[in-house]
Symmetry: D2
Subunit: 380 residues, 4 copies
Amino acid sequence: FSIKGNGIGNGNGHCNGYSNGHGHCINGYSNGISASVSSNGVSHLPYSNGNTVHHSNSNGHIHTSPSFGDGRRRCFWYEEEIEDDLRWCFALNRILHTGVSEYQDIALIDTRPFGKALVIDGKMQSTEVDEFIYHESLVHPALVYHSQPKSAFIMGGGEGSTAREILRHKCVKKVVMCDIDKEVVDFCKKYLVVNREAFSNSRLELVINDARTELQSRQERFDVIIGDLADPVEGGPCYQLYTKSFYELVIKPKLNHQGIFVTQAGPAGVLTHTQVFSSIYNTLRQVFKHVMPYSAHVPSFADTWGWVMASDHPLTLEAGEIDDRIKQRIKGELQFLDGQTFLVAATLNKSVRKSLSKETHVYTEETARFIHGHGKASYQ
Amino acid sequence: FSIKGNGIGNGNGHCNGYSNGHGHCINGYSNGISASVSSNGVSHLPYSNGNTVHHSNSNGHIHTSPSFGDGRRRCFWYEEEIEDDLRWCFALNRILHTGVSEYQDIALIDTRPFGKALVIDGKMQSTEVDEFIYHESLVHPALVYHSQPKSAFIMGGGEGSTAREILRHKCVKKVVMCDIDKEVVDFCKKYLVVNREAFSNSRLELVINDARTELQSRQERFDVIIGDLADPVEGGPCYQLYTKSFYELVIKPKLNHQGIFVTQAGPAGVLTHTQVFSSIYNTLRQVFKHVMPYSAHVPSFADTWGWVMASDHPLTLEAGEIDDRIKQRIKGELQFLDGQTFLVAATLNKSVRKSLSKETHVYTEETARFIHGHGKASYQ
Amino acid sequence: FSIKGNGIGNGNGHCNGYSNGHGHCINGYSNGISASVSSNGVSHLPYSNGNTVHHSNSNGHIHTSPSFGDGRRRCFWYEEEIEDDLRWCFALNRILHTGVSEYQDIALIDTRPFGKALVIDGKMQSTEVDEFIYHESLVHPALVYHSQPKSAFIMGGGEGSTAREILRHKCVKKVVMCDIDKEVVDFCKKYLVVNREAFSNSRLELVINDARTELQSRQERFDVIIGDLADPVEGGPCYQLYTKSFYELVIKPKLNHQGIFVTQAGPAGVLTHTQVFSSIYNTLRQVFKHVMPYSAHVPSFADTWGWVMASDHPLTLEAGEIDDRIKQRIKGELQFLDGQTFLVAATLNKSVRKSLSKETHVYTEETARFIHGHGKASYQ
Amino acid sequence: FSIKGNGIGNGNGHCNGYSNGHGHCINGYSNGISASVSSNGVSHLPYSNGNTVHHSNSNGHIHTSPSFGDGRRRCFWYEEEIEDDLRWCFALNRILHTGVSEYQDIALIDTRPFGKALVIDGKMQSTEVDEFIYHESLVHPALVYHSQPKSAFIMGGGEGSTAREILRHKCVKKVVMCDIDKEVVDFCKKYLVVNREAFSNSRLELVINDARTELQSRQERFDVIIGDLADPVEGGPCYQLYTKSFYELVIKPKLNHQGIFVTQAGPAGVLTHTQVFSSIYNTLRQVFKHVMPYSAHVPSFADTWGWVMASDHPLTLEAGEIDDRIKQRIKGELQFLDGQTFLVAATLNKSVRKSLSKETHVYTEETARFIHGHGKASYQ
């Protein structure tokens, strides 16, 4: 018998290890949990700072004794409403931390199927076991396609994972991360151990501000600008950062020559890509000469996700060239992306491709399209 | 903004142990949380050791700022399978503590509709806001109907609430509580602050043992024996403690002259009373001269619950006499029971009454009836 | 193997009406299904027009072959949100019929735990296996306490069950049922076979109108007026029919000398009775000389339910007198109520009794109290 | 107000009233419902036999009046347990038909997010809005890579969709479909209108038998053999049809020179591909010279799905060649697949690719791997 106030539970004084407390515990997103190897043979190195990550195991221990709920019906659940007629539910081990900001609710939870997960306003933001798919896809293509990126600006990104991935590029000298919600940033700094190093990296400048205001007030331009914003949700503040005028008047003037812009672009599945993905793509086509939509299935989002990269400089690389640049520039090994994977991600299936080619909608402040509470979301 | 790692969350500072609290909090089931007054005007004094108890409030603070999930769709749930085709789901604030014993899983959770709740093997055992109904009903009638109870034996009862209620009787000199699961007892001693005083009361003798073995090995007899056992669940160990032979050969010989036996007796609703209630009643009728079934609706069990009191001594008191004895003998005020309430609880509705009068089933080891995972349960 | 488009599904061949089933079935709420006897030994005669009713069986057949989903994890569910943090979920066999009116959504479903159930706006109205508790409690006390009731007026009651129970009183010559929602009434006439006879009874006058308008426009007075209205829900139309002025200015003038008014009064559990029950009780106390609150646990509502009876004539009967009147006046046998049961229902437990005695709130149009989507509800 | 027994319900013919039955209803998978155009701009022609298909609309009517549950909280749900700690829940409009066979439960339901869906043993088999992804991917690559396929054998496939897709190939003269469960086949013939034409096609030979027995007993060989079997589920019969010896001793001898075998191969997502996909791939590598794994995200399965194609003849075609063959050979237009899409599907991402290259497990009867109730499944 083990009282798990500690193991799963709570902190205290000088607990090191995995106590989710604080005191002096210092390492690990996973709160210092070493963990059983994921059953799929994937090692998620960057996420867990050198620890392998648990997938199916309740608290990361290799149990010799039974652990809570093993082999029994689950009774604790996290339930996400993807659409009002579609739910996605994960068995819960623990609700690790919760917080409330001026803008949103935030929680760090420990789920059985996806490990630790960051939830904002009832929407899954990222999970321990597959956030690498989202963040590698968001960050590395733009930086790799750029011939020599030295500076990057992140709109949103308060979780810290986007900054973490950018900082793996040795050539990048400066990253500005601009998120509007100080509390989310503080929460993530405190609890997402996997990003702790990134948050304290001297190349990172962290700003709490509205992204538009911040960009407009700055003198410098950037090699890469990354939109890690909430989806355009009705009533949310972010949809204004997906409009043609914003791209034209705010983003483009702040890109250096040969600069590249990339944004997360919502669900891109066969059934969901017309919610916002096709429209973001078409809007960027109005503003940039070269626009490259791409997508990948993110399991914890229960959908294929989309990103769009755009530039006035041609975006053409062979798989081999991509692999070479990844090898030369990036610290550590990528888990999801390589040259072949990216070129495949950028080749949409017939159904989505046809649909994008016919899209005529352009985002303006008057004609925004919105999305129901879907996955990657929130702050800016 | 408040990071609730503290309030809801986890310890820090010098908090040792599992106190989900702050700094130096040392007492309180509610983990040192004071709390807003329940919206129903009921004050639950005994449960919270002098603190009023929250009902609808997430963590007991009187918020001036919004608290997590207020006004939003709930995303964390506790789900109980009452039958395999019937579920009862409570929004969760926190999973406070979890543990595993040789026999069962145990958890202390903080729910929105019912406050803190003890869960064993996925079954709700008792909740902060209504456990007084179950425990007052289990304990006080037998003790009050006895002319002068000095000793009591509890079969099961590891949660400690049954002992707590018995110890309110000033005339009781000795309480033996015998539970088979040391870990459950340790868990409850540690986390159920409301019962902490009872656990350390010098009149309480706590034994870890099988109730049958313990009773048989003892020389002394008791004025009152209380069955606070798990329901007779298929495959569970407890159904053998509901049989005619057990009542005849083990219980009865250990009752003093005029002694009274009482047992929880499972669901007693119009639709559920034939699962086990009517049969326990009928079984006791084979063994004792006077048998008194009674019931009350326990909201968190989603059903009317049943108890059966039995004795060879007549069980007859007027409402006024009951009230007088309660006043004379019991420390503090009861919340649910008084003379009138008990006489009503012991007057079953026509549908249940008819059904009980026709019951012919008798519990033996060969002919046990079982119940699906329903409410009050577990250890012995 | 049986394709159950038939068995579970609905009609075919010459089946007219909604008979789920077979050939020439013509009567029965249960749609002509004979059925296995309920496991609790209760026979629900009036509900099923002479057929016994299934409880745990999926479609009323005594299967010799396995039936859908037997012994397997359930995958179809009806989910009711009792509060926004409390859910009650029934495994579904079928969604039998659905409809939409100007005011509300309506559905007749076949559930595993409670048999067929009428759902309006996502709230359980009544279920095959326990509606007798609600309707016997609503109707018979007022009619029995009246020395010789000849006429009754129902506010709401579109389901038809209230009328059905009234019509069992041989002395009643005229029942006026006034519901605002024609579609609900038509739906129930069509699909609730158990009430078909009542709907076509010549003593019943059915009016589609607002209850207030109807009462005010009528010349005659009634011996009994019954409020079978929706709970006072925020934004709903019904809360105005729970106010002091309504009782004083509309109800009272339409009661004959010695007339009795009774209304359903919302949840009356230990944790829920202050939502509206205590206030409806206190409001009626301002208007009538004699007011009698009573309650009973209704399993499918997951709560104890309340009713309040009021008159300027004393309301005092012994259990034996009640039994005599039931025997003399009512056709068939009641399942839930008899003299003892009613007197018990009218004796509230200590916790609720205290709370009612202290209630000071009076319903006015300005100071209404509201209830979350709880059980018995809807139209008027 | 519209009573939707019809609209949502089913057939009609001479059935009057709302009987969801059949009587003489004769047309339509969608039960004669035409339907609103899917919101994503995809037209699903083949599935609905010339009717466009609804996606977000409750019953396919273009409502001028509100429809059931619009704008309200959903209360009817289909819940699938993907893993025991992961659920996927669709709001339900109707449970259209249910049946029970010797082997399994079967249901046709109408869901809000995915339209009509076939469910076997609580597992989603295919849905109206995205089954084309699964079935185009299963069928067309093997047939297109073959230089001139004249005959095909389907193991399983009782739903009929696999046969339907094969029969679109003009060069195919004979299709043998061999499913073990007559009742499933009968159910699908009766209710899946979209496949009705395929079921009555004279080029189709339908056999009820075990696939192994059937193949072994036949003299002829086939150009293409397709495994549309249940996943290898513990206790299920199908895992023996994924073994090395089966491929070697049963499949291979029945393939013509240049013959191609293809099988569905379970989940192939980043987190799930090692459940069975990598092992099926590796097993086929032991038996065939050329093995081509490929995958695509199937939204209603909540995962990326995998297939493996294998042959002793080289599998190499350019995108343009694939497009040419599709155009020449296939009747109508494919929705999901073209040359580019297939080549992308056959290029796995880095994470999965690495993992497959390292896979050493080989399916034998002694060393099978199993899968929890995941998606495409079931009979044969």
